[in-house]
C-alpha cells in the first residue's frame, strides 16, 4: 500500500535521520576515522579527488565517510564544495619530468635510463583473499628503497628526438580557448560551458574529471576494434610533483605544495600522409594519486578523440567527441538517471489520458470493421 507522496517535509527529515543511523552502523564497533580512510582506503580517496577535481585527501576521505563509501556520492560532495572555493591564481604547468618517482614502467622498452620501477602495485598479485587481513593480522612489510628517482627522462622524448613520434602538442593549430582576459590560458569547463567542437585542452579536462568506468569501457571498445588506434603503454609514471605558483607581489615561482599524480603516455600508430613521413602519435592521461586504470583509459580515449585532428574516419563511439564529452561526467549522468525517482505524475497523467484515448479509438475502429 503506497499513498500519494505528499507532506514531504517531515518525511525528508526522518529519512535523513535514518540515513545517519544506517551510515554509522553498529555503534558497539568503533567509528571509522577520516584519517583511517585516508590512510587505508587511499585509492578510493584518489578517485574521489580526481573526479571531484580537488586535491585534498582529507576532505575526500571525509566525503567517502559521509557517503558510506559511495564513490560517486563522495565525488558529488567534493565537487559541490569545490565550486564555492575562491580562486586565488592558476598554478604554473606541473613538470612531470621532475617527478619524484614511486613507480615508472614502460611496456615499449625492456630497459631504459631511469629503469623500470614497479613501486607499490597490485599488478602480479595473485588475487587470493588474504585471510590474515580478515583476522586483523599485520603482514610483514619490506621498507622501500631509499633512493627515489628524480629527473627521470621520458620514454617519449627518446622517440621525439629521433622524429619517430609527434610532438606533445600534436598537430593541432592552437586555437585560443581561454577567457577573454587570457585567451592563451587553457579552457576551464568549470567556468565556461562546453563548446563543440572542443579543443584538446578542454577535452583533456573533461576526461580527467570523467567517470573512470565510462572511460574504461570506451577505452576497451577501441581495443576491440571500435576506433582501434594500436596503443603501446610508452610510459606510466607515478609519484610526487611540485605545484608552483607565481604570486603577483613576488614575480617568481614558489612551491605551493606537492601532489601525487599518475601519468600515462601512450604511443599509437599513424600512417603518415603524402607530405608527412609516418610517425607515432600520442594519447595522454593524468590523474591525481594512484590511478593507473583511469590514466590508461584516459590516454586511449584522448587518442581516439584526436581522430578529427589526425584526419581519421569518425566511425566509433570513442571517437565521437559529443558522445564522449557529453556523457563522461558521472555527476551529470547519475543526477539525470536518478531524477527518474522524482515525481512525474503530471507527465505520466498526460500520457495516460492520451493512451486511453488511443485505445478507445482503436477498439471503436475494430468494432466498426467487424462484420
Amino acid at each position: 500500500m503506497y499513498v500519494a507522496v505528499k507532506g514531504g517535509e517531515q518525511a525528508i527529515d526522518q529519512a535523513h535521520s535514518w540515513l545517519d543511523e544506517t551510515r554509522r552502523g553498529d555503534t558497539s564497533l568503533p567509528e571509522l576515522s577520516v584519517e583511517q580512510i585516508r590512510q587505508q582506503m587511499g585509492m578510493a580517496v584518489d578517485r574521489v579527488m580526481t573526479e571531484g577535481s580537488l586535491y585534498d585527501p582529507e576532505l575526500a576521505a571525509l566525503a567517502l565517510k559521509q557517503a558510506s563509501g559511495d564513490v560517486i556520492e563522495a565525488i558529488f560532495l567534493l565537487r559541490a564544495y569545490r565550486t564555492t572555493l575562491p580562486r586565488f591564481l592558476a598554478s604554473c604547468p606541473v613538470e612531470t619530468d621532475r617527478m619524484a618517482i614511486r613507480r615508472r614502467i614502460s611496456a615499449a622498452y625492456k630497459d631504459l635510463p631511469g629503469g623500470q620501477i614497479l613501486g607499490p602495485t597490485y599488478d602480479y598479485t595473485h588475487r587470493l583473499l588474504d585471510f590474515t587481513l580478515l583476522a586483523n593480522g599485520e603482514r610483514a612489510t619490506t621498507p622501500p628503497a631509499d633512493d627515489t628517482v628524480e629527473n627521470c627522462p621520458r620514454v617519449l622524448d627518446f622517440l621525439n628526438s629521433e622524429g619517430l613520434i609527434e610532438s606533445p602538442q600534436g598537430q593541432d593549430e592552437h586555437k585560443p580557448s581561454g577567457t577573454m582576459e587570457a585567451p592563451d590560458a587553457p579552457a576551464d569547463l568549470t567556468r565556461q560551458p562546453m563548446d563543440y567542437p572542443a579543443d584538446r585542452d578542454l577535452r583533456l579536462q573533461a576526461l580527467a574529471r570523467g567517470d573512470e568506468g565510462f572511460l574504461l569501457a570506451l577505452a576497451y571498445s577501441t581495443q576491440r576494434g571500435y576506433g582501434r588506434n594500436h596503443p603501446f603503454a610508452g610510459e606510466i609514471r607515478q609519484g610526487e610533483v611540485a605545484v608552483e605558483i607565481v604570486p603577483e607581489e613576488l614575480g617568481f615561482a614558489v612551491i605551493a605544495g606537492d601532489i601525487q599524480v599518475t601519468e600515462c603516455d601512450m604511443i599509437n600508430q599513424f600512417s603518415g600522409t603524402e607530405t608527412e613521413a609516418p610517425r607515432f602519435t600520442r594519447g595522454y592521461g593524468l590523474a591525481f594519486g594512484n590511478a593507473e586504470r583511469k590514466a590508461l583509459a584516459m590516454a586511449l580515449v584522448d587518442r581516439a578523440l584526436r581522430a578529427r585532428e589526425l584526419g581519421e574516419d569518425i566511425v566509433s563511439p570513442a571517437q565521437d567527441e559529443e558522445f564522449v564529452l557529453a556523457h563522461c561526467d558521472n555527476l551529470d549522468s547519475s543526477g539525470f538517471v536518478s531524477h527518474l525517482k522524482l515525481p512525474h505524475y503530471v507527465d505520466f497523467q498526460s500520457e495516460l489520458v492520451l493512451l486511453r484515448r488511443l485505445r478507445k479509438e482503436f477498439e471503436q475502429r475494430r468494432e466498426a470493421n467487424q462484420p
Partner: protein, 297 residues
Amino acid sequence: MTTAFPDQTTDTPADATGYNFAYLDEQTKRMIRRCLLKAVAVPGYQVPFGGREMPLPYGWGTGGMQVTATVIGSDDVLKVIDQGADDTTNAVSIRRFFARTAGVATTESTPQASVIQTRHRIPETPLSRGQILVYQVPIPEPLRFIEPRETETRKMHALQEYGVMHVKLYEDIARFGHIATTYAYPVKVNGHYVMDPSPIPKFDNPKMHGCPALQLFGAGREKRIYAIPPFTRVESLDFEDHPFEVQGWDQTCEFCGSDHSFLDEVVIDDYGGRIFICSDTDYCNQRLDADARKEAV
C-alpha cells in the same frame, strides 16, 4: 523583480552557513545575469552559461535554482512547486534550500509570490506583471531527440530549419491519428525559435502565450538559459487540419470540484479504484477556502 543588493559587488555571508546570499557567489550571479539579459533580448534562444555545481544533483532542478539564486533579492517572496504541488518532496527540498541560504520569505500562494520556481507545471492562477516564473529544464534542446548533435541543432535553429519537427508531428498523426506528444510540447517563440517549454503538460502551453510575467528557463546539466519576456507570442506547433488542443478529463476534482484544472489521478485502494484531484494544490485550496467563505456568509 526586486534587485538583490544593487550595490553589492562582493560576497556577504547570509548567515552562519558561511555561504554567500542565495549560495552562489556574486561573480557567478553577474555572469548568469548577463546570460539572462541576452536570453530576454532573444526570446526562445538557448544561451550557454557557465553553470556551476549545486549542492543538489543535476537533473533535480540545478538550472532553475541557479536562475532563482541569481534573480532573487532579500525582499522577494518565493514559491516552489513540483508537479503543481508545494508539498512534493523536491519542492520542499528546494524551498528549504533558499529559506536556509537566502533567508527569504516563502509562500504557497501563487498571487503572493514574486518568484515562482516550478518543475513540470504552470500554476492555474493566472500570473501577473512583475512576477517571475523560473522553470527547471532537463533537456533544453527541442530538436535533441531528432538530431542529437549540438553542432547540427545550432545550425538548424539559426536557419529556422524546423521541417524535421513538423515531420515528427506528422508521423505521430499518421501512426496514431493524433500528435502523440503530451508534455514538453514544442512551441515557437516570437515567430522565430522553436523552444522546449520544459516537461509541462501541453495543457499548460496556452498559459505561456502573452503571459504578463517574465518566464525564465534554466538547464543546469546542459548549461543553457532561455527566456520568454512578458507579453510574448508563444505558439504551439500544429497543422491547419490538426490544430493544437489540450487534454481534458471527464472527471472533476474530488476536493474542489474544478472541471477546468489539470487533474492528477490517485489510486486509492488495492482494486484500482481512483479519484482525480487538482495537481495545483494552491489553486485547489484557494477554491476550497472561497467555498468555505461563501458558506460562512
